[in-house]
C-alpha cells in the first residue's frame, strides 16, 4: 500500500504533480492551469531584471497570489559555480532553501552534466540547501547524489521539452528498485498524461512537467487531465499491477464452455 501523500524533505503534499510555470499563453491561464492540476509545488526560475521593463516584479505578484510551495530551478547553468550562485540568489529571492538543481551538459539534449551536478550538490548541501537534482537514471550518479545529501532524485524521462515520454523504461525501473526508500520524481520529457501515468505505475513518487500543459491547446483542461492521470497511475501501482506475459490466458472460465468435447483439441 503506497503512501497517499508525497513527502519531500519532511513536507507532505496531497498532489504528486510538480508543475512548471513557463510558456503559458497568459498569466491568467497559468493561474487557472495550476489550480486545475491540483499541483501544490510550482517550479520557478530567475532571470536578469531590466530596470525599464521590471518583468519579474509582475510575475512575483502572480506567484505570491497562488500561495503554493515554490521550487526554484538553476535552469541554464552549465557549471557548478554558476549553479551554486544561482541557487543562493534563488534562496534569497524566493525565501526557500529548496532548489531544483540543474547543471546542463549539452545544449542540444539539455542532459545533466552528472559530474558538475554532484559537485554542486555537495557544496549546496553543505550550505543547507534541500536539493532536488535533475539527473538521469544512472545508478552510480544517483548513489553519489544521495551521498552528497540529496534526499530526492529527479531523473529525466527524456530530453526537456521533447514530449518523448519515458525513453529508458528499464533504466527507470532499475533506479526505482535500487532506491526503494528515496522519493523519485520523473522530471522532463513528459508529453502526454499516459506518460505521466506510466511513470507512476513504475512506482515513481511524482512527476514534474511544464511544456505538455503550457503548450496544450487548452492548458487548463490538460492540467486537469494530467492531475487525474498521475493519481490514477499512483493508485494502480499501489493496487498491484499484473505482469505482462507472452501467451493468452482466457479470462472467462473454460470449464463448462458449451459445444466443447473432451476429445477435440482447439
Amino acid at each position: 500500500m503506497a503512501d497517499p501523500k508525497l513527502t519531500l524533505y519532511g513536507e507532505s503534499f496531497a498532489s504528486r504533480l510538480l508543475l512548471g510555470t513557463a510558456g503559458y499563453p497568459s498569466p491568467d491561464i497559468l493561474a487557472r492551469a495550476a489550480k486545475a492540476s491540483g499541483a501544490e509545488i510550482l517550479t520557478v526560475s530567475l532571470r536578469r531584471e531590466s530596470a525599464r521593463q521590471r518583468t519579474g516584479q509582475g510575475f512575483w505578484q502572480l506567484i505570491e497570489e497562488l500561495g503554493l510551495k515554490l521550487l526554484p530551478n538553476t535552469a541554464g547553468c552549465h557549471t557548478p559555480k554558476e549553479a551554486i550562485a544561482t541557487a543562493q540568489m534563488a534562496r534569497e529571492l524566493f525565501g526557500t532553501d529548496w532548489i531544483k538543481l540543474e547543471v546542463i551538459g549539452n545544449d542540444d539534449t539539455l542532459q545533466p552534466d552528472l559530474f558538475g551536478l554532484v559537485e554542486a550538490a555537495k557544496a549546496l548541501s553543505n550550505d543547507g540547501f534541500k536539493i532536488l537534482p535533475y539527473c538521469t537514471e544512472d545508478l552510480s550518479a544517483a548513489e553519489r547524489l544521495i551521498a552528497a545529501g540529496c534526499e530526492v532524485l529527479m531523473p529525466w524521462g527524456s530530453p526537456i521539452g521533447s514530449a518523448c515520454g519515458l525513453s529508458n523504461r528499464p533504466g527507470l525501473k532499475a533506479l526505482r528498485a535500487y532506491f526503494p526508500d528515496i522519493p523519485l520524481i520523473v522530471d522532463a520529457g513528459i508529453g502526454a498524461p499516459s506518460h505521466a501515468a506510466e511513470a507512476m505505475e513504475l512506482g515513481y513518487d511524482g512527476v514534474l512537467l511544464n511544456t505538455a500543459i503550457a503548450k496544450a491547446g487548452d492548458p487548463v483542461a490538460m492540467a486537469a487531465a494530467f492531475g487525474k492521470a498521475i493519481e490514477a497511475g499512483h493508485k494502480a501501482f499501489a493496487a498491484g499491477l499484473m505482469e505482462p506475459q507472452n501467451m493468452a490466458s482466457p479470462s472467462t472460465p473454460v470449464a463448462g464452455t458449451p459445444f466443447t468435447r473432451a476429445d477435440r483439441a482447439s
Binding site: L30, R48, Q57, M89
Partner: protein, 65 residues
C-alpha cells in the same frame, strides 16, 4: 566608472552595489544580486564597493520549468 550590468556595458558613479541598484530604480524591487560570479546578499550590498570592470548580475523571479 565602467562596469557591466547583466552583461551590458554600464557607466555609473555608484560607489557600492546598493547605490547601483538604487540608481537603476531597483532598490525596492524583488531582486537578487551577484558580483563577479559570486552571490551578494541584500544585506551586504551597501558594504560591497564597485570597481571598474566589475560584472554585476541583478535578477528577479521568472517563469521556469
Amino acid at each position: 566608472m565602467q562596469i557591466r550590468v547583466n552583461g551590458e556595458p554600464h557607466a555609473t558613479e555608484a560607489g557600492d552595489l546598493a547605490a547601483l541598484c538604487a540608481e537603476l530604480e531597483l532598490g525596492d524591487a524583488k531582486i537578487a544580486t551577484a558580483r563577479n560570479g559570486d552571490f551578494v546578499p541584500a544585506s551586504s550590498r551597501a558594504a560591497t564597493p564597485l570597481q571598474t570592470g566589475d560584472e554585476i548580475e541583478i535578477v528577479a523571479p521568472r517563469q521556469g520549468g
